[in-house]
Symmetry: D2
Subunit: 229 residues, 4 copies
C-alpha cells in the first residue's frame, strides 16, 4: 500500500508502468542526511491539530510535522552513530525588501515571529553539522549545498523535512539533476495537504527518487559498509 | 471551477487560504514564451488515445498533448505578432554513457527513436526563436536559459508544454526562484496522469505562479503596451 | 595610458586586436552597483602602507584599498541620488568545519578577527541596500545575486571592490556569462599585487567588460535617462 | 623557477606569502581530466608561429598551443590506461542571434569556419569520453559538467587546454568553488599572451589550484591506488 493508492488511480499507475517510469535508484556508499526546514514555524512549538497550530504560525503543518520529527530522529541517531554528515537547509528570517516573487505569492511568510525560525530541539543541529541557509524552495538554489556535498564526497541523499510539495520536492529534483542518488523516507516528510503530499511522493517515486518506508531505509543504510576515508 | 477542485478537498484548499498562500504574481512588461518538450515523443505523430499513442512512443501523453498543441498555437501567434521572444527548451537525443540517474529511474527514455525528438510542426521553432537543449527536468538546470532571458530583458515567463508534473513544474520553480513572474495557462500544459496534472497545477498556483485559463491570459497579454527597446 | 601598458607588451596587445577582442559592451538602461568585500579585513581600520596594514589583517591590501574607497564613494553618491540599486556581496565570518578547498589554499582566511568583517563605514550599506553574503570568489556563486538583479530588472553591472584578481574578476566573468553589461571603473577596484591587478584589468577589458576611468563612467551614468518603473 | 618569476616581483610574491596564500590543495583519490577547447580554432590546423596562425583562425594561439597538445597527450595516455574519466568542455559553433555579450566583446568569434570546431586529432575524444558543449568561459557555467563529475564520484580535476586567462581560469575558479581539488599542469595550458598566461597561473596557484610541472603531476597521479568501484 503506497501513500498515493486511491488517489492516483490504478489505471494511471499502469500508464507510468507502461512508459517505463519508477525504477529504483538505490543507495550509493556515502550518504548524507538533509533535514529541510524543520523549524517551529513549520510544526508549531508543540504538537497540535492543524487548525489549532496555524493560529500560532500560519505556516505550520501541525501534528503531521511532529510525527515526522519523531521519525527523522531515528535517522539522526543512525547518522550520528555512523559519523555520516547531516545538513540543515533552512529558511533564515526574511528581510522586507528582499521578498521578490515569494513576498507576492505568500505575503504572510514575510511576517513570521523570530522564534519560529529556531530548529526543533529534538533533532536540532549539533556542532559539526552543516547549516545551509536558503531563500528559495530548493536547498540547492543559491546555496553552497552542492559544494558541501562534493567536499564530503557524498553520493547519496536522504531527504527529510517539509513541505513534501515545496522544498522537499524542489531539493529532490535538483539532487536528482546533479546525479546524486536520492531516497525519501515517506514518514519523514510532511505537508499541509494530504493529497498534495501523496501525489508529490508519487511524482518523486516515478521520476526522481526512491520513496520508501523508513524501516526499509534504516535497514538498507545499516547494511552499508563503514565509510572509507 | 479549477482543475484541482474535487481532487484537493475544499478543506485542504481552506488550509492554504488560512496559511496565506496563492496570491497573484501578475504579469510584468516584457514576457517570453517557453514551449517545453513539445516533440513527437511526448504527443505521438498524430492525435491518438493514450493507450494507443504509447505504442508509438512509450513517453507519449497522447490526445491531451494534441489539445495543448492547439492552445499553445494561439500564444505562438500572439507572440509572433508582437515580436516577443519564444524559447524552446527541449530534450536532445540521449547518449548512452551520459545517462546518470535518469537512465536508472526511466531506462526506456534512453531508447526513443530519433524522429521522436523533432518539434511538433504546428508550433515548431522559426528562425529567430531560441533553442535551449536540456538534459534535466528544469529548463534552467545546466542551460543558458537564464542568460538568454537576461539578454532579452525578460521579466515574465509564460510556461507551456509538458509534462505538468515534470519539466513544466521544475522550470516554474526555478523561474520563480530567479524572480521572474511566471504564468501557466492551464490548457497549454499536459501530462499522462490527470490527477498528478491537477495537483501540480494546484501546487504551482499556491506557491510559484499564476495558473489561469488561456483566454484570460491572452487578454492580459494583449493589453500589455508595446515593448520599449 | 592603460594600467596594463608596460606590463602587457605592445606586441601582445596587438595580438588581441588581431584576434578581434576588446570591443565595448556599453551601458544598458538599468544599472546596479556592486561593492564587493569592502570590509576592514581588506583595507585595515585606517589607511596604512601595505606592509604595516597586513600586521592588522593579513588579508589587507592597505593604502590602495583606501584610495578605492574614496572613489567608490562617488559612485555611491550618484546611485543614491538616482535611487539605483546598490548591492554588497561580502564574506561572512567563517565557520571552521565549512572550510573546504579555501581552508586548504589560504588557511589564515579562517582566522580573521570578527570586526574585520564590518563594512567600511564611508560606503557602508544603508537601509534598502541589498546584502549578499557569499563564501566563494564570485558574487554569483551560491548566492541569490542573480535573483535580486532579475527582480530589480537590472541590465548593467558596475563592479567595484576587491580583489581585482579574485572576487572582482570572478564576479565579472559570471556577470558577463549571464549577459549583463559589465563595467569596471579602474580606480574603484584594488588588489595586493600591482601586476596581477593590471593584468586582470587587461583580461577583463579584452574579454568580459568595459574597463574605464571613473570620471568617464560617472559621465556616462549621469547621462542615463531616469529609470522607468 | 615559476612561469611568473620576473613578471610578479619578488616583493609582491612575498606579500602573498605574508597574507598566507598559496598552500597546496593536493590530489584526492578519483581524478578526472578536463581538456578545454582544444579545437583547431585555438591552435590552427598545424603548428605555426602566432602571427601566421591567426591568418587561418583569428582565435588561434599558434605554436604554444601545439606544444600543449603534445603534453596533454601524456595525460590522456595515463588516464586511458587507468580508465579514469576524460571530459571535453568545448565551444559548439555559434548561432547568430544567440550571441549576447560575447558577440559584442569579440565579434569575430561569431564567424569561425566550421572545421575550426573539430577537436585536435592527437587528443580527440574516444567512445566513452564525455563531451560538454558550452557557450561561456567556465566549463561549469550552464553545462552538465558538475552532474557528470558527481555521477563519476570525481574529487579531483586536472585542468588542461585554453586559454589560460579565459576558459581555463574560469573553470578552475568554479571547480574550486565546488570544492573539487584542482591541479593545473603548467605546460598543458596555453594562451595568446605570455604575460597574461603567467599571471593567471600565478593567480590560480595562490588562490585556487596547484599549478605544477607536468612531470611532477604525472608522478603523483601514477602513485594513486586503483580506483575503488
Amino acid at each position: 500500500m503506497k501513500p498515493w493508492d486511491g488517489i492516483i488511480s490504478e489505471d494511471e499507475q499502469r500508464a507510468y508502468r507502461a512508459a517505463g517510469f519508477g525504477r529504483p535508484s538505490g543507495l550509493g556508499q556515502r550518504p548524507a542526511l538533509l533535514i529541510i526546514d524543520v523549524q517551529y514555524r513549520t510544526v508549531g512549538t508543540k504538537p497540535m491539530p492543524f487548525w489549532d497550530s496555524i493560529k500560532e504560525f500560519p505556516t505550520s503543518c501541525g501534528d503531521v510535522g511532529w510525527n515526522a520529527v519523531g521519525n527523522i530522529k531515528k535517522l539522526v541517531d543512525l547518522f550520528r552513530a555512523r559519523k555520516w554528515p547531516i545538513l540543515y537547509p533552512h529558511v533564515a528570517p526574511k528581510v522586507a525588501h528582499e521578498g521578490g516573487r515569494l513576498a507576492e505569492k505568500v505575503p504572510q511568510i514575510m511576517n513570521i515571529a523570530a522564534h519560529g525560525y529556531n530548529f526543533v530541539e529534538e533533532i536540532a543541529p549539533q556542532p559539526g553539522d552543516i547549516l545551509v541557509p536558503k531563500k528559495h524552495p530548493s536547498a540547492f538554489f543559491a546555496t553552497a549545498l552542492a559544494s558541501h556535498l562534493i567536499d564530503l564526497s557524498v553520493d547519496t541523499l536522504i531527504v527529510t523535512g517539509c513541505t513534501t510539495s515545496g522544498c522537499v520536492r524542489g531539493s529532490v529534483v535538483d539532487g536528482f539533476s546533479l546525479n546524486f542518488r536520492v531516497s525519501v523516507p515517506m514518514e519523514c516528510v510532511y505537508d499541509r495537504s494530504r493529497v498534495s503530499h501523496a501525489v508529490n511522493l508519487f511524482d518523486m517515486s516515478e521520476k526522481y527518487a526512491d520513496v520508501l518506508p523508513l524501516d526499509e531505509l534504516l535497514k538498507k543504510l545499516d547494511g552499508l559498509s563503514p565509510r572509507q576515508s
